[in-house]
Symmetry: D2
Subunit: 303 residues, 4 copies
């Protein structure tokens, strides 16, 4: 499979979409990013790396961070995680409070904001210094100690993060989170603020792709558990566009409002793509299209 050629062909095909959509502007620090960027990187299990355009430019990974947080949490708590959060697709937007109220404070899954806030709470309870443990884990996944939080983005999100604060207060009301609301929110926003490039993301997700022993910074996961985590990505990774992504791309993946998307083809490759302009569901337009073209061109998907 000539992945480099496929990637280049994809880029030509998605060019007409280059000006479609607009970047997330509700977080001031994110609104400053040049929206006309695109990067893509595919890494195979045998270690070949194919990349294209701004694949080394770091961007705010935002919700993609939820995969790392869940992985840490599963390593620490095992199946007990599911006592605090569900694993069903939400069928609603990523930030809906309705479902949370109807379901009495148990978030539908760990990839909607409410669920990720609960995961943040669990990590805070389990770890003495959750912030440094988390970034250490992510650095270990990438083998790169320069990966870091962006304090400015985190602060910017906290200052205008009224909806997430509403969610955290509602969770506290229902008793689903244990720690101080401010502490939980700040940690949640810190995790979202991590900056990585497409190359680094593809590398980090290789750990969920290659079925090698998973042991990073002391956090271990069995193969069975990695497969289950991938299953959650498949059904819940794209909010109310999970079905669409599954249909068009056919791989487990996770998107973030920074414009990044990562997907994995178990035992084959991980792939990261980034472009800041989003569709109405909050997913990168060029990113979605690029991944659809990738699995169409390769005729490969998990289905």
């Amino acid at each position: 499979m000539d992945y480099q050629q496929i990637l280049e062909d994809i880029y030509k095909e998605i060019l007409p979409f280059a000006k479609k959509g607009s970047q997330a502007d509700y977080i001031p620090a994110l609104a400053k990013v040049n929206p006309d960027q695109f990067g893509m990187c595919l890494e195979t299990v045998s270690g070949e790396v194919y990349h294209f355009m701004q694949s080394d430019t770091r961007f705010s990974i935002q919700s993609i961070t939820k995969v790392f947080a869940l992985a840490m949490c599963l390593s620490l708590k095992g199946e007990d995680v599911w006592k605090r959060v569900g694993k069903e697709p939400s069928g609603t937007a990523f930030n809906s409070l309705v479902q949370l109220e109807v379901e009495k404070g148990i978030p539908r899954n760990p990839f909607i904001n409410a669920g990720a806030i609960v995961i943040a709470d669990i990590l805070l309870s389990e770890l003495e210094d959750a912030e440094s443990e988390f970034i250490g884990f992510v650095r270990s996944l990438c083998g790169n100690d320069e990966i870091d939080y962006n304090e400015e983005v985190a602060q910017s999100e906290r200052q205008c993060g009224y909806l997430n604060a509403a969610i955290a207060n509602l969770l506290k009301y229902y008793g689903t989170i244990e720690n101080d609301i401010e502490k939980v929110l700040m940690f949640y926003f810190k995790m979202c603020s991590v900056e990585m490039s497409c190359r680094e993301l593809a590398k980090a997700f290789m750990a969920f792709t290659n079925r090698q022993p998973f042991d990073y910074a002391g956090y271990k996961l069995s193969t069975s558990r990695i497969k289950r985590l991938n299953a959650v990505m498949q059904t819940c990774g794209f909010y109310d566009e999970a079905g669409e992504f599954s249909y068009l791309v056919g791989l487990p993946g996770k998107s973030g409002v920074g414009g990044g998307i990562v997907a994995i083809y178990p035992m084959r490759y991980s792939v990261a793509v980034w472009s800041p302009r989003l569709n109405s569901k909050g997913n990168s337009i060029m990113g979605m299209k690029a991944l659809e073209l990738l699995t169409t061109a390769t005729q490969e998907s998990i289905f």
Copy 2:
């Protein structure tokens, strides 16, 4: 892989669940089935067949029929199907009207009742004799002309099918269905009443598993389309337990309130299991457990 041994081991492990749950009783004709039955059949793409217990006993396939109906519909209309029905997981019970009202009559996906009723309506509009075409298609998938509707079950369901009648009327109100309500409902219930055994179901689903040219009774599907249909099964095949099934089993599948479940492992095998006792979500308890044990034992899943 010694599938026969694995199946026999599974049976021992699920025996403790044999009396858990209860069969669907809202359809009088289904309530008469002996609930203490279990059958399982696994067919590999190379044609080996492993089966166990009542694997030749026919039962009401109920919602499993929605996969056949969608396949026919995709063959006839292609991607236009998605103008009439969505492909996102529903996050609610299979028979909810709330979502339908909120979303102005566009069912969330073709595997909840509302969506399957729309599919029935499309088939009625496209085909002169939808009933005989449909059963012909199913027979062709199985290579068995004895497969048939159970008229008594269909009538029984229609007579007490107030909720589905409510859904059909609401769809008609929103203009989502074209044909006469009674005609659409009756065809929908007829499709649900088809009776098949585990062996026949495993055989029929081989067509979605083996990536051979799909051409049955004149209905053709490209490989790409089959993969997409499988993706919809993955995200929407188990109502509000889709995430759970994906997590525990890791294969695309479809369940029915008759107690049957079919799952496929693309390019490897299709598997059908049947036991009438259901959990609170309407899925077979022994069936769910059996499939979880299967992918645990084989260490194989799409993730």
Copy 3:
């Protein structure tokens, strides 16, 4: 109080609204009515009658009929009525199914469609010939035996009444209605099809206004029960505009999509107004405005 002058002044003030809104067109037989009509009639407890414009033209009373049906039902069953239907304002549109599903088949109040269908079901169970009993009761309230159903309107509504059929099926599913769905729906539509003029409506509602012994065609109500029925009109008579009507007009009342509105000022007067053009909530625009001006001019309301 010079009511005749007040009515004439009102007419001048509402003329600018004469072409605003549009009549109900989802019922073909109603769409044929000339929308540019207006009638008003006020009758005092001492028997004076003031009327204006097309106050003798009969029109389809539609949902106003629900007051008569509830009165009959309260006479027959007393407080037991409230075991089958609530008495809280709905906060949603008159025809919403969402609430019904969330609340497991108990309609919020007898003035939304679902509630009125339950009332129709109770009358059918209680009376041997509900149709003739009901029209007899209405005739008795008006002292006019020419009041009648409009068979054509009833049939027209049934033929396109998909939403009400959805509601009735959902009620049947939850076990809230006892009789055959078709029979209940047909009786419901018959009651809605009754035609009365503003003069006749004002006369009929005098029975809820004057605190004289209530005994019509054998149906009796105590003063306490009449006051309670009036309370339900106040809180539930205008669907999701109940608060607005209460705020602007300050009287208990009931509207219908035929463009009629009746309101009562206990121990003072009943007033009926009619004009077919409706606002987005399904209430007559000129009618709402006329009643607002009436209580503003008279400085009288129950508050």
Copy 4:
């Protein structure tokens, strides 16, 4: 009308309910109140005062304060208030977030928590020292300068007020409140913490009852506006039990989780009742019953 006798008779009749229900315990400072207390006071427009039991004991008026806040707000802003908050009954519990999300941040009415928080925000924007202005207004209504906030209760509510904090954050997200969230919440809780006795409440509500020129501490309202405020009390004063109260009592009124209820019979009397044990809807059990018996005994209600 021998109101004193009626009050004494009422007390005998409600005694069997004395131990039913339980007091609000989610606010620690309120949970300390002796629940076995009861007070009642009726004041006529001609100045007669009838009272009984602990009618001079002050208690936390909680949501009753919302009437005072709305009155001030209407005086300051007139009908513009309704651009920021609706006036329709909510049909859901007093603290629901679902409705707020569905309706994009416009609270249904000023008497649910979300609406009262918006009113608090308006007062903060309009007044330089809202806290002293508000208590001055309430003192003026009672003619008693000893009425005051209970700082401990306010702090206690803020500390565990996660749900109200969720609501305030959601309102801020939708742009419905202008001021700092903490400031708005603290003012809201301060207003709720005001302590008054039944005698003082009956006196204060006389201003909404007697149609005398309304001018208290400089805040003026026209008779028309008072009547409209009373209409909002009627339809929205008891959360999802507004219909029940209207049906059983037939007077506009407002309840609080401190166990107080105030009702008014325009041009006749105002009446306050207090008993801490609440029903499942958050309304005083003995209070509701006492008022029902009052209007039954007097045969008087607005209907």
